[in-house]
């Protein structure tokens, strides 16, 4: 699967470097608390990979990826919550067997849309399908009417805001502003122990690499090239016989599904899900991680998520008020000075030196010239 044709030389190096870092170096050098933090950062890398396909390649800027991250996360949280709310665990409630927040909100029966989440296989299907179908509906409604660019970005923001308000308002069904908390076991397996966190970290990294390979596959097919073509000459693609709307819908749905996998892993790693990961601010932060890493680079998205979140944790511990300004400044700086983010800096400044050092004659990095001259949206 991973051969020289699937990844070019520098991509292969990037792939192996990331694999060594995530599979060997970090698990060996970090304690379980820090490793769990890395796992949390990496959940955003899933969103970033989706944004590379949708925004970097397709030119569709979505400022509402938190919606799909949240839907994936909530699907997982609903399953875990039902498992934690067995009749035995909830016998002090007035209605035993339903989640505690429902009981507090005078609900006496489990709402119908919660029922499928008793089943683990159905939950796994829902994690992929619910956000996928939601993205399909939004995408079809927007792209078939040729809504695009800034208008699309604003509408996705609005959807993120609406979903947050809906979750907070429907406290009895969703857990409201607190979200779904006190999650304990996955299929009878306690996810709160250090050992479980260690295992979950590896599950997540394996899934992350599966998503990287899936995204790389999409990028290398003709569909990947049509996305690039569409970004710059939409009409020419249309008059080459393609339905531009369908390709945009595909890119948007793919990004939604990647984000949903990240969201589901987030719930498992962190142990709860709340509307604060759904709304406008987290959605924009996810775009910033991708922009910093480089929106044309799948690996860049992973590095961006890791580094910006690491900076967020360390800086917001010392300067809580300054962090948001710092993040904003970082975004503006990246867009103005380095539109291709860290991966662009790497390709332009570091890679040539590395090549010279090892005396290799050809650069091997020609794929990234796709990114050159692409306008930052």
């Amino acid at each position: 699967m991973i051969n020289a044709r699937f990844f070019n030389r520098s991509e292969l190096i990037g792939f192996l470097a990331l694999a060594v870092l995530l599979f060997v170096i970090l698990p060996l050098s970090l304690d379980i608390f820090r490793l769990n933090l890395v796992a949390k950062y990496l959940t955003y890398a899933f969103v970033g990979i989706g944004l590379v396909i949708c925004w970097g390649y397709g030119g569709i800027l979505s400022l509402g990826q938190g919606v799909f991250f949240g839907l994936g996360g909530y699907c997982m949280a609903m399953y875990l919550k039902l498992e934690a709310s067995s009749v035995e665990n909830t016998k002090i409630q007035s209605t035993p067997g339903i989640p505690d927040f429902m009981d507090w909100n005078q609900l006496t029966a489990l709402p119908f849309f919660w029922k499928p989440f008793h089943s683990f296989p159905l939950t796994l299907v829902a994690i992929l399908l619910v956000p996928g179908i939601f993205a399909l509906i939004i995408g079809a409604a927007m792209f078939k009417r040729r809504v695009g660019g800034v208008y699309f970005a604003i509408i996705t923001q609005a959807i993120a805001a609406i979903l947050t308000i809906l979750i907070i308002g429907q406290q009895g069904y969703t857990g409201g502003v607190n979200g779904i908390t006190d999650l304990r076991t996955l299929h009878g397996w306690d996810i709160r122990t250090d050992h479980a966190k260690f295992i979950l970290y590896f599950v997540e990294v394996v899934l992350l690499f599966a998503c990287i390979i899936a995204a790389q596959f999409i990028r290398l097919t003709k569909l990947g090239r049509i996305l690039v073509a569409m970004r710059e000459q939409e009409d020419r693609v249309r008059f080459s016989g393609y339905s531009v709307a369908n390709f945009k819908i595909f890119a948007f749905c793919a990004a939604a599904i990647f984000a949903a996998i990240g969201g589901a892993m987030f719930t498992l790693e962190v142990g709860f899900m709340s509307p604060s990961f759904v709304g406008i601010v987290p959605s924009i932060e996810m775009v910033i991680y991708t922009a910093v890493g480089g929106r044309m680079s799948i690996f860049g998205a992973v590095w961006g998520s890791l580094l910006v979140n690491f900076a967020k944790t360390s800086l917001s511990e010392s300067f809580p008020q300054l962090w948001l300004f710092g993040l904003g400044a970082l975004f503006i700086a990246v867009v103005l000075a380095f539109p291709n983010g860290l991966s662009g800096i790497w390709a332009d400044y570091v890679q040539p030196r590395v090549d010279r050092l090892f005396g290799s004659r050809k650069s091997g990095w020609n794929d990234n010239s796709v990114a050159d001259g692409a306008p930052a949206e």
């Binding site: 003709k222 569909l223 710059e232 000459q233 009409d235 249309r238 008059f239 531009v244 390709f247 001259g373």
Partner: protein
């Protein structure tokens, strides 16, 4: 009324076509017919509605009323990509090629296979694709530039590339909007040679201002003025039409 008239003999039958933008009729009750293998040139002063006519045929602009029949199929009700799939190709006035893709990739995208989402995911760059791309690249003088990115091509080369992208679609009706505009003299000569080669075995609808070029290729000329046909016929006939001389050729 037109006894014995068989509209199906025509490849393209435009009748009573009207489009109005906020009351301004850019094309007004226009009717014309293009036969199989005919080279038709549309000329006319600026703002006559030439480009709008091509936009209407390829579906970029929706007609207010009237009909456009291509091989008996009504184009006014179809989407742009469906119109392309029935066999109508369109080249734009400004060269529109994909600058972030190579010449090879530009041509490959236009190859008429795998045009659905699933089809493009499973599309294989196999021998027929490579051969056809190579063949067309040779025709458009870009054979040794297959790995060059679109952004690195000259204006004339971009025009050729776009013509090549149409060729690979192999349309029955080829529509070209000012194909030699903005080209150098040598590029112009090469383009004329290229066009003369590719217009065989298909119908072509060309908008052009270069009268020498028009004279060279046109079977029939349609002169548009204010959204209506001023004159139609052979170049010889049109050139000597007093109305045409007055509004267009006279100066």
């Amino acid at each position: 009324m037109l006894v014995g008239h068989q509209p199906k003999d025509f490849l393209l039958a435009v009748s009573g076509l009207t489009v109005s933008f906020d009351g301004f009729k850019a094309v007004n009750d226009l009717s014309f017919y293009v036969e199989e293998n005919e080279i038709r040139v549309i000329i006319g002063p600026n703002g006559a509605g030439k480009t709008t006519v091509l936009d209407l045929i390829c579906g970029k602009t929706k007609a207010t009323s009237g009909s456009i029949q291509f091989r008996g199929q009504e184009l006014t009700k179809m989407k742009e990509n469906e119109i392309v799939q029935t066999g109508v190709g369109r080249k734009f006035q400004t060269p529109s090629v994909f600058e972030d893709l190579t010449v090879f990739e530009n041509l490959e995208i236009s190859f008429p296979r795998g045009r659905t989402v699933f089809g493009s995911l499973t599309f294989q760059r196999d021998q027929p694709v490579k051969e056809r791309v190579g063949e067309v690249a040779e025709m458009i003088f870009l054979k040794d530039r297959l790995d060059t990115y679109g952004s690195e091509l000259s204006h004339g080369q971009k025009q050729w590339l776009e013509i090549g992208m149409l060729l690979i679609q192999d349309p029955d009706l080829l529509m070209l909007d000012e194909p030699v505009a903005g080209m150098s003299v040598s590029e112009r000569a090469k383009t004329a040679e290229l066009l003369n080669r590719i217009i065989k075995n298909r119908s072509v609808l060309v908008i052009e201002h270069d009268m020498k070029f028009v004279e060279d290729i046109a079977h029939k000329v349609t002169v548009l003025h204010q959204g209506q046909i001023l004159s139609e016929g052979t170049m010889e006939k049109v050139k000597n039409d007093p109305k045409v001389i007055e509004v267009y050729l006279g100066h």
